[in-house]
């Protein structure tokens, strides 16, 4: 009797949930521990303000893992409705029309498109059609340890603005023990080799006036003198002893956190994490420039899958529009450091109030005009791993910068050629 009561109760509960929320949407995201509470709060607020829609947010691992899982989900025909995809991965799914073309919705509200920051909007437009809304966009910033700056006699409010200044400061910030061993390094320009491989190196090439690919993405240009020059300069930081030569990126970040490294490039999406966890005073600045002032744009977007019912599409559109509205994009910015995606947000009173509280968040917004999206392509992950291996070969002194980038360009060209033939 008791059990049957329970069964009836559970069934009723189910029915009730479905009656109250007539559209149930599954949302896959890649926001791990630190950003997750902020995302969950947004989703739960959406659910409470939209009684007819219920969104279930599920963490599916990092961006690369989400791609794998989504691919597998398509094979087993068990896909979510909304997915957070890295802007660089959109092409993997648009090629087979697996993402919903948002043109129809965009044309319904013309003011929406013009309110998104132009350079962010471009990242979600493929062959003239928008396939997602920019959501968590970040750019690469220079993080520095203000405490160490002060100790070295430098002005903690004057971060380096050029490569030369950075090298000079890094030299002053490098500290040796009496026995000659380096106990503190001025700079670590670590480059990641996994999820977002080669990310931190791209702006160096651009700042040196170089390019990674030609404009039609058919040829890799890292063997050109500008890119090789950037690599040589990067290598010189290790050779001069201002950068630790034998550290993985993870170890470098660890050392930076412990105050053993004074400067390094990090994504703006980590500013709030750093402010909440670092044991010293954090400074954030625009990446130092050389021949040009550039930084890299990265991050994720919200896309709707094309195989869902029109009713669900409407609800999903409502959700992704709501997630990126002015108020929520600012909430997201304040709690993570990912950039606000709306012009109206950049222009708002609230953003100024946020800067009062967290002045370190401001430089990231000021860097927006200089932020360049990463080049993308269907095989971009493999290509980035090749480029990453090339700079690793230089760091470990296996190859000269010229040879490493020449070999890598050859390999990449082969992939691009193969892709063109498909």
């Amino acid at each position: 009797m008791k059990r049957s009561c329970f069964v009836i109760f559970v069934t009723l509960l189910f029915v009730a949930t479905f009656m109250f929320a007539n559209v149930r949407l599954v949302f896959w995201h890649s926001m791990a521990d630190y950003q997750k509470p902020a995302l969950d709060k947004l989703v739960s607020e959406f659910n409470s303000t939209h009684p007819d829609i219920h969104v279930v947010a599920i963490y599916e691992g990092n961006y690369d893992q989400t791609v794998t899982k989504l691919k597998a989900a398509f094979l087993s025909k068990n896909t979510p409705d909304i997915v957070q995809l890295n802007i660089e991965h959109l092409r993997i799914f648009t090629a087979n029309r697996q993402l919903l073309d948002l043109s129809r919705f965009i044309s319904e509200t013309p003011s929406l498109k013009s309110d998104f920051v132009d350079s962010f909007w471009k990242t979600v437009v493929i062959n003239g059609k928008p396939y997602a809304l920019p959501f968590n966009i970040s750019c690469l910033m220079l993080f520095y340890n203000k405490d160490l700056f002060e100790k070295a006699g430098l002005d903690p409010n004057k971060p380096p603005r050029t490569w030369k200044e950075m090298e000079e400061m890094a030299k002053k910030l490098t500290v040796h023990a009496p026995n000659g061993r380096t106990i503190q390094y001025g700079l670590f320009w670590g480059v990641s080799g996994e999820d977002t491989a080669f990310y931190q190196f791209e702006p160096l090439i651009w700042q040196n006036g170089g390019k990674i690919f030609n404009s039609s993405m058919t040829k890799c240009l890292v063997d050109q003198p500008q890119a090789v020059g950037a690599l040589k300069r990067w290598k010189s930081w290790f050779d001069k002893g201002i950068s630790p030569a034998n550290m993985t990126l993870q170890e470098g970040i660890q050392a930076f956190m412990m105050g053993k490294i004074a400067m390094g490039p990090m994504t703006s999406g980590g500013i709030r994490y750093a402010l909440d966890n670092l044991p010293w005073d954090l400074g954030v600045a625009m990446l130092p420039s050389h021949k040009a002032t550039v930084t890299t744009l990265g991050g994720g977007s919200l896309a709707i899958l094309s195989n869902i019912s029109p009713e669900k599409q409407e609800a999903a559109w409502e959700f992704i529009k709501w997630m990126t509205n002015t108020k929520n994009t600012l909430y997201w910015y304040e709690n993570t450091g990912y950039l606000p995606v709306r012009k109206s947000a950049l222009n708002s009173l609230q953003i100024r109030l946020i800067w009062k509280k967290f002045p370190q968040l401001k430089p990231a917004v000021e860097a927006i005009p200089y932020a360049r999206p990463r080049p993308v392509n269907v095989d971009i992950i493999e290509i980035r791993h090749i480029l990453f291996n090339a700079i690793e070969e230089v760091r470990h002194r296996v190859k000269t910068p010229e040879k490493a980038f020449k070999d890598a360009a050859k390999k990449v060209d082969k992939i691009l050629e193969l892709e063109g033939s498909k």
Binding site: D33, P37, N277, P279, K327, Y331, N347, L349, I368, P369
Partner: protein
């Protein structure tokens, strides 16, 4: 290049031209379900035609957040002709919370009475912990507000009629009945600093002595940072002075100063200094002790009969997430084990090494939707278990 210049121009335009001279002609409040509009307007400090000033508006936002009424405040400006309309979207907190107190008993607290932002408490004294007993032992209620209707004026009115309270002092243990009336007004000088002056009348009758009638006037100056989010280090303090007049004359005073410092990650230490001074013939109900409970944690309360006491307390906390991982943000912290070493100085005239008494405690702060539960175990002269809820 051209694009960058145009961007630059746009940003420059945004940062300079906007908000330069224009004034706010109206305020729209959104999202308030119970709090009245005029309370919020007062909290913002809005005056018609006020100039757009980021510092002032940031302070207004902090005051709204620290009022305890809202969980989120979002401000926006809408241009109308040459002027602005300020749009404030708030998200209200749950206003009702339970009370669990050794003196007052079990009750309920509502911090937004009739939407006026006034805190009211009603509680029924119905249990005693040592020795444990359930009985009906009086009631208490209070009304208070640090910012009455949103203005900088504070007030406090409280009445309690409590029966059969247990007391122990160096000479005797006895039960007493207490009727206490308190009324006070004050003013918030700025976001952080404020004071309140209050008058207290007490009638106490004990099982061993005749009825006492106490009249006292007190001054409380408090300073608590209006915004602590994202700060590594901050301090807060509180000074209390009380003077008894009429038939029982005495002076008591207490000071409480704290420093919070985040070491690394969410791991922190908190340094607290508490001092209390009792001069004259202060009746036992008005004497100042440490902490919220009558017992000093980990010490024998009978030791504290001197006129002067000082306590140094350090709390080292390691916030953990719900799955007992190291927490990376305040939102993720659910359990916070704390190690609490204390050192007390008791004595007035001849201070020797004996006067310094250490005690050590272990506690866990547990974040729940109703508030923070904080069970603690202390070991000093005797082992004691304490339970607090904030």
């Amino acid at each position: 290049m051209k694009k960058i210049i145009s961007y630059l121009a746009l940003i420059l335009l945004l940062s300079i031209s906007v908000f330069a001279v224009n004034s706010i002609v109206a305020v729209q409040i959104r999202g308030n379900t119970s709090t009245k509009k005029f309370v919020i307007l007062n909290l913002i400090g809005y005056t018609k035609g006020m100039k757009v000033n980021i510092d002032k508006l940031a302070m207004a936002q902090n005051i709204l957040m620290s009022s305890g009424l809202f969980s989120n405040v979002y401000m926006n400006l809408k241009a109308t002709n040459d002027n602005y309309v300020l749009i404030v979207s708030v998200e209200e907190k749950n206003h009702i919370s339970p009370i669990f107190d050794l003196e007052k008993g079990i009750g309920i607290r509502e911090n937004d009475l009739f939407g006026l932002g006034i805190e009211s408490e009603v509680s029924l004294r119905c249990f005693n912990l040592s020795p444990f007993k359930i009985f009906l032992g009086g009631y208490s209620f209070s009304l208070s507000s640090q910012r009455t209707f949103g203005t900088p004026f504070s007030f406090k009115v409280a009445f309690s009629d409590l029966k059969k309270m247990w007391w122990s002092d160096p000479w005797s243990e006895f039960y007493y009945d207490l009727t206490r009336t308190t009324a006070g007004i004050g003013y918030m000088l700025n976001g952080d600093l404020g004071f309140i002056v209050s008058y207290t009348h007490e009638d106490v009758s004990t099982s061993t002595t005749a009825q006492l009638s106490v009249n006292a006037i007190s001054l409380n100056i408090h300073d608590y940072p209006v915004q602590t989010e994202g700060k590594r280090t901050y301090t807060w303090w509180n000074l209390y002075l009380e003077r008894g007049f009429d038939n029982i004359k005495y002076t008591v005073g207490a000071v409480n100063a704290n420093l919070y410092h985040r070491i690394i990650g969410q791991i922190y230490y908190r340094l607290g200094v508490y001092g209390a001074l009792n001069l004259g013939d202060a009746p036992f109900t008005r004497k100042l002790y440490f902490g919220d409970t009558y017992n000093l944690k980990g010490y024998d309360s009978k030791e504290f009969d001197s006129h002067f006491m000082l306590l140094l307390e350090t709390r080292i906390g390691v916030p953990l997430t719900s799955s007992f991982g190291i927490s990376k943000s305040p939102e993720l912290s659910v359990y916070t084990p704390e190690l609490i070493p204390q050192l007390a100085l008791i004595g007035y005239k001849n201070i020797t090494l004996e006067s310094f008494k250490p005690s050590i405690g272990l506690g866990v702060k547990i974040n729940t939707p109703f508030g923070i539960f904080e069970p603690e175990v202390f070991y000093g002269k005797e082992l004691g278990f304490y339970f607090e809820m904030k």
